[in-house]
Symmetry: C2
Subunit: 284 residues, 2 copies
């Protein structure tokens, strides 16, 4: 969280402390960081496909020619490097940390790019993780980015609160799965985002159905899709649906997610994200 | 975490502070709490079925005639009350908090039994959540329990560390799904458990396959099962496999999970848990 007790003399434009309650002027973009739009991908519930949706949205935006970045805020369960097949460790110099880049040029910052071995745990409590996230945001040489996607961990504790308070989040994409149980927990994250005056711009219902490639039958493995009900209940403008597709799992495991073509399935969400960005430009 | 700086004069047997580094004598069972065996159900990764496995293991143990309890440690994403169909709020009196009970008598403590509405979020940082967990453990009238299952949230941050340090965990059951990406993150939790000298007694590979009820084809939606590889890599004694079964989702949503018969699928894990309990009795 931002430190609002800084003895700063009100020099807001040169200050990088995000979310400061005393800010009177926006910070000037620096060579290190000129991130225009920040979109959080949240769920509350784990395993519904936040990282998949983050990766697909980022890849789609990169295909459209935008400069894209992903900040992997799931510090204890980071998936992003593997889904994009990024190996090795990132470098740092006097100017800051240099993010890794995917095949199509998406800049990525993740704790798993700092560990010598992918399955090494990080056993850190909230304040340490909060410090790491602030470093990811402030000390990475992001340079010019049109859209940054923040892949959030499950839950509504430290990381959720830190990202929502201290990062300049422009909007949230939430990810759900058909089960009622999942919808209930996703509802917790959406309710909290509303309480914190953050705009929820879209819902992706993942794992909505599975089509048998032998006989063509559609299976609703996690129950009947209920994206429309959830979107209506929480007044979420855009809705997209993704199937339970073995190709997703395979391409994530092979680090090839940016080569997957969702064939427009995420367009309702992409359009809303671009609309949020356009409204921001118009308001400036 | 346990407060090791208590000015206690070494009165260990009457003290309830768990995990105290200065303890010289085991605490005497109280009327409030005589929990014989505590099993953590962990994963590292969300959405692989920790709550499902917790519920199924607890139900199986209750069917065998044991006194069973579930402590739902997933404070920001609690699933247990819904899977068992427990509604309403729990009561408390001068003696402590009275846990809810399922149809078959499993005692349950979960934050969602304290909220007026199931989708209300809890926006608490680590220290508050840690305090809640200690209350769940210390101030609940658990009375006699043969097996308590602790349903852990995803990740290896505050809750994981608190439960591992401060609860008398006898063993861990870990839950995975076929995807390599999942195995990597589950590996983080297993490595951390090993680092903390906690015994990992079994692995449940959930969502291992899906059988089409129309044509009978087996689908490996999340990739080829790799439970054997993961169990061998991390030297986990017991392995059980569960399919991706629409009935699980439906029975969780209907609060009927304790009526699901896993037909012995979890026996390898159940046997290991009973073996851990037997070794403990033998060592006393």
């Amino acid at each position: 969280m931002a430190d609002e007790s800084l003895d700063c003399g009100g020099a807001c434009s040169g200050c990088n402390v995000e979310g400061c309650g005393s800010r009177t002027e926006a910070p000037k973009p620096t060579a290190r960081k000129n991130v225009k739009n920040v979109i959080g991908v949240v769920s509350g519930k784990g395993g519904v496909g936040k990282s998949l949706v983050t990766s697909l949205l980022a890849s789609e935006m990169a295909r459209k020619g935008f400069k894209v970045a992903i900040l992997d805020a799931d510090v204890t369960g980071p998936s992003i490097p593997k889904t994009f097949g990024i190996h090795g460790q990132i470098s740092a110099d006097a100017d800051g940390i240099n993010p890794a880049q995917t095949e199509s040029g998406i800049k990525v910052m993740s704790i798993n790019l700092m560990l010598p071995q992918a399955d090494l745990p990080v056993a850190w409590r909230g304040p340490v993780i909060t410090g790491i996230l602030n470093q990811f945001w402030n000390e990475t040489n992001w340079e010019d980015v049109d859209y940054m996607f923040v892949d959030m961990p499950p839950g509504t504790s430290d990381v959720f609160l830190t990202v929502m308070h201290a990062f300049p989040i422009d909007g949230i994409v939430t990810v759900s799965a058909p089960q009622e149980l999942v919808a209930m927990i996703v509802g917790k994250a959406v309710n909290l985002a509303h309480d914190m005056d953050k705009q929820v711009i879209g819902l992706v219902e993942n794992m909505a159905y599975f089509k048998c490639d032998e006989c063509g039958k559609d299976h609703y493995i996690f129950g009947e899709p209920q994206g429309k009900i959830v979107a209506k209940r929480y007044q979420i403008p855009a809705l997209a649906t993704l199937p339970l597709d073995p190709t997703f799992a395979r391409m994530c495991d092979e680090g090839q997610i940016e080569n997957y073509d969702v064939e427009g399935a995420l367009n309702p969400i992409i359009e809303q994200i671009e609309a949020v960005a356009a409204r921001k430009v118009a308001a400036e």
